[in-house]
Symmetry: D2
C-alpha cells in the first residue's frame, strides 16, 4: 500500500494515469535536457497531444473537465516524478486553463449571457494553444507589477520586463500581469494577452540557473507592445490588492508544491533502489541492513508523509469550498482562510521536499554528488520551490500569523 | 474557516458535538485535578451518561455505531482540548469497545454463529461497565508481557505487575495482556479479563507524574489472581508477534495522538487570547501587532496544520481499508503498511503537539511558566505522547525504515 | 577526556572546585525543595560560608578576585548540576557583586578618588550581605521599568511591582530598577537600593511555577517605600537606553545560560547511568547496546558540545575585550557586538539545553515521566532559560539581525 | 568586532593573513573554474609560491612551523571564502605535510636517530612537491581499502581504484591507502607512495560533480603499479583498526569543516551586501529594513556562531592535548575522545554551513538561483561537506554514541 496523493474523481484518475505514463517517458530525457539547458518541446507536444494540457477545460471544449484541485495536484505530482522542469512548465498553462474554465462555470452559474459568450470565445481557442502566465519581475513583489500599460488609440502600450518566464519558449500567448493608472491616484492591475509574435516582445533565451534548467524560464522584454482593448483584462480592485479573484488565482499555484513532492518521491525511489542493492566492505552487508540506513529512510518517509498529507488535505479543503460555488457566493474571508491553509502547506511541502532529497543524497554515500547520478539534478531542481510565488518564506509567515491573529493578513511589503 | 479534524460520518458529527460539550465542562476542573492529582470520576460518569463511552458499540447495543477511525480521532481530539487526562483515560475504554464492536462485525460478516453469540454476550454487558486495557510493564517492550498465566484447575493463575494503568481508578474490568507457555518452547500471549474486585489484584494509588496527573495511571499488581477459562482469551501467533489482530488493535491507539493535538489546540487558543489582548510598554502596542509575535504564531499554525493533516489522513486511510473488510479479507501486508503510516503520523503529531505548546509558552512571555496559567499544565501533559505505545520513538524509526525498505518491519528489540 | 566548560584562571579553578563540591551536596535536596516549593536557605548559607557568593569581590575585600566571565560561567554551570534553582538564585547576587567589583576596578583605573571611596564603601559591606537584582515587571520589557520613583524630602518614594524576584526570600538588600522623571519630557532609569525591612516593601511568598520552584522568585510590592538619596543610583542615558553600562550589566547574565547547560549535563549523567545498567525484554540486552539508543545519545552529545563551545567562547570573547579595559576605553560599538555574540549563544545554549533534557526523557523510556525521577524536575527547570532577560527569543532575533545588518540593534519594542 | 575563527599563534596570524590575500584573488576566478570544471593550477602555484602549502613544515625546512590545529583551521577557513575547491585541494597536501612534520617532531622527541633521518629525508623534498592523500574507494568504508598490494621482488604491486582524488591533477606524488596480507589471516593497511608518472597509474579526468567542480577530484586507477619497498609504509595494527596513528591522521581533516564554514561566510557576505543595497516595490524600503529579513539574518548569524565556536574549540582542544606530546605519551583513549569531539563539531559545522547557504539563497529572493550569482555555486559546493571522511553522518552518530556510552566506539560497518 502506497500513500501517495490520490485523485478525487474518476476523471482525475484518468488524468493521473496519463501523467504517470508521461513521467516514465520524460524521465528518460530529463538529465540530458538539464545538462544542455534545453527546453523539452517534445514533452510539451506530448502533453498537448494526450490531452493533459487541456484537462482543466470542460468536456464540451475537448477537455477532461478536471475541476478538482486535488486532481490537478495529483497529476502535477506525477509529472514531476519524471521531470520537474516539464511539470512546472505545464503548470503555467494548466493554471491559466483552470482559471478560464472556472470563469466559464461562474458565468453559467450566474447566468450572465455576455460573460458566457466571452468565456466561450476563449475556450474555443484554448484547446489548441499554449498560454503562459507571466507574473514575476525583479525589484518588486509579485502582484505589484511595475510593467506598465499606457492607453493609446484602440488599446494599450505595454512596457516592462518579466523574469522567471517558465514555458516561454513554447508559449503561443502570454498572459502578462501589468499595472495602469486608474481613476484618481491609484494604480490598478490588468492581465494583457500578448501573442508570441507581437512586435516589441523579446523572448530571451537567457535561462541559466541552478536547477529547473529545462523549464524555459527566461526573461521577457516588452517594448511598446500594442495590446488591443479586447485583450486587456483589468482586474477589480487596486494594484496589489488581494481580492477574491486574485486569491483564487493564487491558490491555483498549489500544484507547484506537489511538483516539489514529486521530485522528492523520485529521489526516494532512486535511493531505495540503491540501498537495497548495494553492499559495502568490510561486512558486505546490504546497505539496507544497516540500522543507521533504516533510520535515515524512516526520517525521509516521515517527511514525505507530512508533505503528502498536507497537500492532499489542502487540495480537498479547496475543493470542498470552491466546487459548485461561484461568483458572489465565494467569500473573501473564506478565501483568505484557504490561503492561510495553502501557505502552511506550501511551507511544509517545499521544505520537506528539499529535506527528502537532501537525505537521499546523504544516503547515496557520495554517489549522488556526481552529475551522472540523477540525484544531483533533483537536489538542484527541488530548491526552486520556496522561490515560487505567492509568498516568499518571509512573507508567508507574516501572512499566516496575521491571518491567525484575526488581522488583515496582507504582509507589510 | 477552521481546519480542525473533521468527523467522517453523520454519527461522527453527533459524537464530536458531544465531545465538544464535555470539553467545555472538563476544562473548568482540569487544573484542579492536575494540582491535586485526583482522578476525575465525575468526568467519566458524564461520558458514560452522555453515550460517549459506548459510542463505538453498535446501535443495536445502545451505542452510536461509530466504526470510523476518523470519527474516533476527531472525538478524542475534542475531549483533550478540555482535559488531556480524561481523554486518554476514556480512550482506554473506547479502544476496547471499538475492538469488541469490530469483533461482532467480523463474526457477522463471516457468519460464524458461535462467534456471533460470544460477541453478543460481551456487547450485552459492555454498555454498562468501564473496561481498561492493561498492557505496559517495566523492563520489557509492550507486547512482550512478562506478566504470566499458569494453568490451574478451571482456569489460570495470573502473576505480574503492570504500570501506566490509565483509567484504573474507575475501571470495572481490566483486560490484561499476559503470556503463557504454549506447546513446545514458545511463549504465547493472551488477554485475561480481571474484574476490579478479583482476589489478588491490587490497584495502586501511586500515580504521581510530570503530567497527565488526573489520568489515574497507577500500577497494578497481580498476585495469584484466578482467571476462569472463559475470561482467558489467547491470541493467535506467538508471544510478541505482530499478526493481523495485534496490528489492528495497535492502530486503535491512533486517537491518543489526536489527544495530544487537542492539548496543543487548547494552548493555541489560550495564547491567541493573550497576545490579542495584552499590551506591553514602552510602545503599549498589542502584542499581536509585533511582527515577531506574528512569526511565532505562524510557526505554531504550520505545526498544527501538519499534525491535523496527518492525523485526518491516516484515519481516513485506515477507514478506507478497514471499513467493511473483515476476517481473512484483512491482509497482514496491508496492516503493516497502515502501521507504517500510523507511525509516521504518530511521530509528527506527538512532536508537533509538543512544539506547539512550547511555542505557546514562549509567546506567553513568562506568564505561562506560572502554575496558575493552564499552559504550564499543557506543557507537562503533552509530553506524555511519545511515551505511549506502540512504538517508542527509537523503535518507530526502525519500524518505518524497515517497512519502507521491504524488510520484516519488526524492530530488533 | 571530558569537554566541559573550563575556567580560565587559577582562581577560577578553585572557584569551580568549590562549586562542584556544593553541587554534590545540593543534589541531595533538590527534589525535595522542588516538591515542597521551599527556598534552600541552607544552600545559600553554604555558598556564603564557602566564599562562592563573594568570589567576584577583590581579594582585598575577602573575595576570590574572580573577574573572568569564563570563570563565572564555569562556576554557575557546575552549581546548576546540583540544583538549578540554587544556581540562578546565587547568580542574582553574583551578578551584583561582579558589577560592584568592576566599578571598583574602573574607579581605580581612572583614578577617580571619589568613585574609589564610594566603591570601597560598598565593598566593605558586600561580603556580609546578600543582594538581589530586581528588574522584571509584568506588562513591560525589561529596562523599561514602570516602577516609579518620585522625589521627596531627602530622597525618593518608590511605587510599583516586580516579578520573578529570584533570591528574594534570602536577600538583605534589593537593587530595584525603576524610572523617574528627568529633565524635560524624558524618563530616566535608576537603581534604588531597598533593604529587606524597608517600610512599604512586601516580599510575597507567591512563587508557584512549572519549574525552578526552589528559586524563591516571588513578587515584590513597593508602596511608598522611602529611598534616601544616597541609595538612589541614577543611570546615565534615558529610560530603556542600551548604553555602555546597561549592556555591560546585561552581559553579566551570561552564566544563567551556563546554568541551563548544567541542568542538561545532569540529565545526561542520569540517562547514561540508566541506559548502561538497564536491560529490557525480550532480548535482555543492555539498552546501551541498542543502536537506536546510541543514536539518541549521539544527538544529545552533539547538542551538549554546541552549547559548551558557544558558552565558553562567548565568555572568552568577553574577557578578551573587557579584562583590563575600563571607563571610556570601553566602546559602545564593541559592547553591542559582544551583546550580539551573547544573544547567539543564549539562543543556542538555552534551546540545546532544553533539547538535551527532552532527549534524556525520551531515552528514559517512561521512567523520567514519574515525579520520583529527577529528570521530570530537570525538564521543568530547564524550560526557564528562554524567559530570562535580555532578550526574549523574538527580541533576540531582532537584535541579532539588526546588529549584523549594521542597523541600530535595539528591537522595536 | 567580528567573531571569526582566530589563529592561535603569531606564525598562525601570518599564515592566516596569507590565506586571506589568496582568497581575494581566488574569488575572482572561482565561478569560471566552476562553470568550466577546470582545475585551478594557477591557484596551487600561488599557494606553493607564497609558502602556504609548506606552512606546516618546520621552519628549518622552509615552512612556517605551523603545528597548531587552530592555525590550520583558521587558514583553510579563509582560503575557502575565496574558493572552496582550491581550499579542499590544498588541504590534501597540507594534511600530508602536517603529518610528516609531526612525524619529525615525534622522532626528535623520542630521540630515535633512524626516524629522524627518515623524516629529514622526506622533509628535504616536501617543500618542492605536491602530495595528494588518496583514500576513498567505492564499495567500502574509508580505512578498509580494497586497493591491494601484493609482494614482488624489491617491493609491491598495487592494484585498485580510488575515487574523490582531490588535487590529483596537480599532485606530484600520491599517498595511497591500500591493504596487504599480513601474517596469519589478517589484512593490514599501508600507505604506498606513487609518483605521478608511475607506470600503471591512470589519473582520470572524470570529475564532473554537483559542486567542488574545480577541486580535481577524479578517479585514479592502479594497474600493477610497482612500489619499491622504501616507498611502502605499513601501518601498525590491522586493516581498518583505528589506532593512535590512524586517529591522529583522521583528526587532521578538521580544517575541511572549517572550509565549509568559509563557504558559508562568503554566502553571508554576499547576502548582507544584497539586502543592504536592494529595495523592493511597493514600499521601496531597503530589504534590510524588513523585519522578516532581519529575522532570517539572525538565524543565519546564530548558525554561523555555532559552527565557529565548535571549530575553534575543537581545534584548541586538539592543540591542548597534542602539542608537545609525542609517541607513547599520546594515549588511545584520549584520541578517541578527541575524535568524538571532532565528530560532534564536524556534524554541526557541516550542517550549519549548508543551512547558512540555504538561508542566504532564500534571502536572495530568487537572484541566487541564477548561475550568474555566486550563491548558486556556494549552494552546490557546501553540500560536499557531509560526504567527507571520517565518518559519514550515520557512522558519526554511531561513533559518538558508542564513545559517550563507554563502548568501543568503532561503528559496526
Amino acid at each position: 500500500m502506497e500513500f501517495e496523493i490520490r485523485p478525487a474523481t474518476e476523471a482525475g484518475r484518468r488524468y493521473v494515469a496519463l501523467c504517470e505514463e508521461h513521467a516514465v517517458d520524460f524521465a528518460t530525457r530529463a538529465d540530458q535536457h538539464d545538462r544542455d539547458g534545453t527546453f523539452p518541446f517534445e514533452n510539451l507536444d506530448a502533453l498537448q497531444k494526450s490531452g493533459v494540457l487541456s484537462a482543466p477545460l470542460p468536456v464540451e471544449y475537448g477537455g477532461l473537465g478536471i475541476e478538482s484541485m486535488q486532481d490537478l495536484v495529483a497529476g502535477l505530482n506525477r509529472l514531476a516524478r519524471g521531470d520537474g522542469s516539464t511539470a512546472i512548465a505545464a503548470q503555467m498553462h494548466l493554471a491559466a486553463a483552470a482559471t478560464v474554465a472556472r470563469g466559464w462555470h461562474t458565468a453559467k452559474a450566474t447566468g450572465d449571457a455576455e460573460a458566457i459568450e466571452a468565456a466561450d470565445g476563449i475556450l474555443q481557442i484554448f484547446g489548441g494553444i499554449v498560454v503562459c502566465l507571466s507574473i514575476t519581475e525583479a525589484g518588486t513583489s509579485a502582484f505589484f507589477p511595475l510593467t506598465e500599460a499606457t492607453p493609446v488609440e484602440g488599446g494599450w502600450r505595454l512596457n516592462g520586463r518579466k523574469i522567471f518566464g517558465t514555458l516561454s519558449p513554447r508559449a503561443d500567448i502570454f498572459s502578462v500581469l501589468c499595472r495602469f493608472a486608474g481613476a484618481g491616484d491609484d494604480w490598478r492591475s490588468s492581465f494583457a494577452f500578448v501573442p508570441r509574435d507581437a512586435e516589441g516582445l523579446s523572448i530571451n533565451d537567457d535561462w541559466d540557473a541552478l536547477g529547473m534548467r529545462a523549464s524555459g524560464s527566461g526573461s521577457l522584454d516588452f517594448r511598446d507592445v500594442f495590446v488591443p482593448e479586447a485583450l486587456f483584462n483589468p482586474q477589480p480592485g487596486t494594484w496589489g490588492e488581494m481580492d477574491v479573484g486574485t486569491l483564487q488565482a493564487q491558490i491555483f499555484a498549489l500544484p507547484l508544491s506537489a511538483a516539489m513532492l514529486g521530485i522528492a518521491e523520485r529521489a526516494r525511489e532512486l535511493v531505495l533502489g540503491a540501498v537495497t542493492t548495494r553492499r559495502k566492505a568490510p561486512s558486505n552487508r546490504l546497505l539496507s541492513e544497516r540500522t543507521g540506513i533504516q533510520y535515515q529512510i524512516a526520517e525521509l518517509e516521515i517527511d514525505l508523509s507530512a508533505a503528502r498529507a498536507m497537500l492532499e488535505r489542502t487540495a480537498a479543503n479547496f475543493d470542498r469550498y470552491m466546487l459548485g460555488r461561484y461568483g458572489d457566493d465565494v467569500d473573501l474571508a473564506a478565501l483568505r482562510d484557504l490561503m492561510r491553509d495553502y501557505q502552511c502547506t506550501k511551507w511544509v511541502a517545499n521544505r520537506k521536499a528539499i529535506d527528502v532529497v537532501d537525505r537521499a543524497l546523504t544516503l547515496s554515500g557520495g554517489a549522488g554528488y556526481f552529475n551522472a547520478n540523477p540525484l544531483s539534478r533533483l537536489y538542484r531542481d527541488v530548491r526552486a520551490g520556496p522561490f515560487m510565488q505567492t509568498y516568499s518564506p518571509n512573507e508567508a509567515r507574516e501572512y499566516i500569523g496575521r491571518s491567525a491573529l484575526g488581522l488583515d493578513p496582507a504582509p507589510d511589503l
